[in-house]
């Protein structure tokens, strides 16, 4: 995709985002909508914490038996008349999907919202091979028109304002009356509905992701609000599901447990509008539905995460709560991360998928405040895993030289308690002198980034260690 910044330049991307007022205004909506919505939904369900435990446990069980549940799922899909394809990496997934599209003689495909297709770069690949992909989720449609990537895993166009959408629609929907009113979101939605309705009816192949793969029944499950995923999968003759291997769950009961967590954590809804189970192609006598049903199971680095300190990340259900509650995400939005998956979950997952060399900054895009873990429906210890990546970054000498020097200096002092005590006493005395009567520092060498936005309160009295020693004597 054009213009998407890379993870390797995260510090620069973040500075640019902080200097982008329309972006900051757009992402400010997250607090009053998604965050407060989640709070209300969680407060209204006494069993929510118990459900989180159950969700964590059932995913842990599934991951420990992942090979067997995938085999069970595959067998059920085949019994229902569907096809299962296994893709080791992005290139293989893309080529499997293209082969199916070409065999179906497809010129256009409609797509339900799918982060996995973003991960493998499916749209660009299909376009390059003569198949036109049409995103149909409203947010995905908007960013496809803009040539952008999603900036949020469930609200892909959260960074765009309605004036920008109106301008994009006028630019692209040139057959409509140029004098039409597009001032309000409702008229923008109506226009997108009309334009995309034609696309749905004309598509040769429909592609969706999956929120769940059910081993018990061979069903793939999508969870949506708009109904676009359903129209993408019931109208064309061929339905392709692209899903990563950790989406499998054992039973319908397990789907119910995660369903109760997913929408509440994501948008504050108790249940998304449409939860749809697809099992094989159209049956004899069925008046509608796809004639062919394909499931592409993608690994792309996930099997190698099992048995490592990052295994817990495979419990993620992509609700986006960690993004919504992250002070860093909320300050810079999703594009600055330069990765398909932004926010805390993205910072943990991206190095596993694309290598630490190009994504080492991401583990530092966190204050380690712990809000992400406190809201994660699957109780994924995100801060702990970010620290693991920071350790690996240091071990592999990927940390910038200034930071390495600082850490080495700190270690030198920390290993010498008397010298450490002397240095901190001197620093406290010096800072307090520098601050003078105001008691605050407006600028500080080596900490200009911090004092640019606020004053540093000067230390009053002794250091922590001298105060602690005093209390010990009492």
């Amino acid at each position: 995709m054009s213009g998407a910044p890379a993870s390797a330049t995260f510090p620069k991307n973040a500075r640019a985002a902080l200097a982008n007022p329309p972006l900051l205004k757009a992402i400010a909506h997250i607090e009053e909508t998604l965050v407060s919505g989640r709070r209300r939904a969680v407060d209204a369900l006494p069993e929510f914490e118990a459900l989180r435990d159950a969700g964590r446990d059932l995913k842990a069980h599934t991951l420990a038996h992942l090979d067997l549940y995938l085999e069970a799922f595959e067998q059920k899909v085949v019994e229902a008349g569907g096809h299962v394809h296994w893709a080791a990496d992005a290139a293989e997934a893309n080529s499997i999907v293209l082969d199916i599209c070409q065999a179906a003689g497809a010129r256009t495909v409609t797509k339900g919202k799918s982060m996995i297709t973003e991960e493998v770069g499916l749209n660009a690949f299909l376009e390059g091979n003569g198949v036109r992909p049409v995103e149909t989720d409203l947010g995905e449609y908007i960013i496809q028109l803009r040539g952008e990537t999603p900036s949020h895993i469930i609200a892909p166009a959260v960074h765009v304002n309605k004036e920008q959408v109106a301008a994009d629609f006028r630019r692209v929907h040139t057959d409509l009356d140029p004098r039409r009113n597009l001032d309000e979101p409702v008229s923008l939605l109506a226009e997108a509905r009309g334009v995309l309705r034609e696309r749905f009816l004309a598509a040769d192949v429909g592609i969706t992701g999956a929120n769940f793969l059910v081993a018990e029944t061979g069903s793939t499950v999508i969870v949506t609000n708009e109904g676009n995923g359903d129209l993408s999968q019931i109208l064309p003759k061929t339905h392709i599901v692209l899903a990563s291997i950790e989406k499998v769950v054992p039973t319908l009961e397990d789907v119910a447990t995660i369903m109760r967590l997913l929408a509440r954590s994501a948008t504050g809804q108790e249940m998304s509008v449409y939860t749809t189970f697809s099992t094989g192609p159209r049956r004899p006598g069925d008046p509608d539905g796809p004639e062919a049903f394909h499931v592409v199971l993608l690994d792309n680095g996930r099997s190698a995460m099992l048995g490592t300190e990052f295994e817990d990340m495979l419990r993620c259900i992509r609700c986006g709560a960690c993004l919504n509650h992250c002070p860093v995400y909320r300050s810079i939005g999703g594009h600055a991360y330069g990765s398909v998956y932004p926010g805390p979950m993205g910072s943990v997952l991206t190095p596993s998928l694309q290598g630490l060399e190009t994504s080492a900054h991401l583990a530092n895009a966190s204050t380690l405040c712990g809000r992400c873990e406190s809201v994660c429906p699957m109780r994924i210890p995100l801060p702990k895993m970010l620290r693991h990546w920071r350790e690996k970054e240091f071990e592999r000498h990927l940390t910038p030289r200034k930071a390495r020097f600082g850490l080495a200096a700190w270690r030198f002092l920390a290993d010498r308690p008397r010298l450490y005590g002397l240095t901190t006493r001197l620093a406290a005395w010096g800072l307090s002198r520098l601050a003078g009567k105001s008691g605050a520092l407006t600028s500080l060498p080596l900490a200009g980034g911090w004092t640019r936005w606020r004053d540093l309160p000067a230390p009053e009295g002794g250091t922590f260690r001298t105060e602690w020693a005093k209390r010990g004597r009492h």
Binding site: I142, E216, L252, Q269, S272
Partner: protein, 223 residues
Amino acid sequence: MSSREAILGRIRRSLGASGTDAPRRDAVRHRLDATPRNVVPARGALPPAERVDLFCRKAGEVFASVVRLARPDGIPSAVADYLRSRNLPQAVRRGDDPRLATLPWEREAQLTVSTGASAGADLVGVSHADAGVAETGTLMLTSGPDNPTTLNFLPDHHIVVVDASTVSGDYETVWADLRRRFGAGAMPRTVNLVTGPSRSADIEETLLLGAHGPRSLHILVVG
């Protein structure tokens, strides 16, 4: 080696496990056969009348409109009333489901009732749900020769009939019913859980109804 074998092999190496290990296979077989319930919220565990009340309230909270009917033969006139109240033409499309086909549609002389799948031109679809879930005001619809899935998504207005006796407290009860009807481990081709009309908040987080699916969901609870 195929990618299938490569992926399964990597998973087993990472887990330090084998695919033929009997205790692992037994654990999986047991979970798939016994389908144990996890945590089920107490919210829906109510006597039948209160359960239906909860269903109606929850459906209302997600912007569905709900009408209660004493008997199925009141359905055609309730459909005609809805069309009049929304200034819609007296025309609907429905599947051949006997629960709908045997109703006295002829009593509504003005009403045109067509049957079968939708090609996108219908303003109003009428379907019969297999169950309701009180916990969240959710409808469950299944596909089949007499129940086109397109009717659930293409028309602007979706009218869904649900029998009060099929409203359960939680999803787990609905799964048990599905297994009884279709057999263990089997599913109809499409199972739709529908909770309110289609919506989107993708433009400035503004909640709007009627994204790609129906703009309105009207539920007739019978009995």
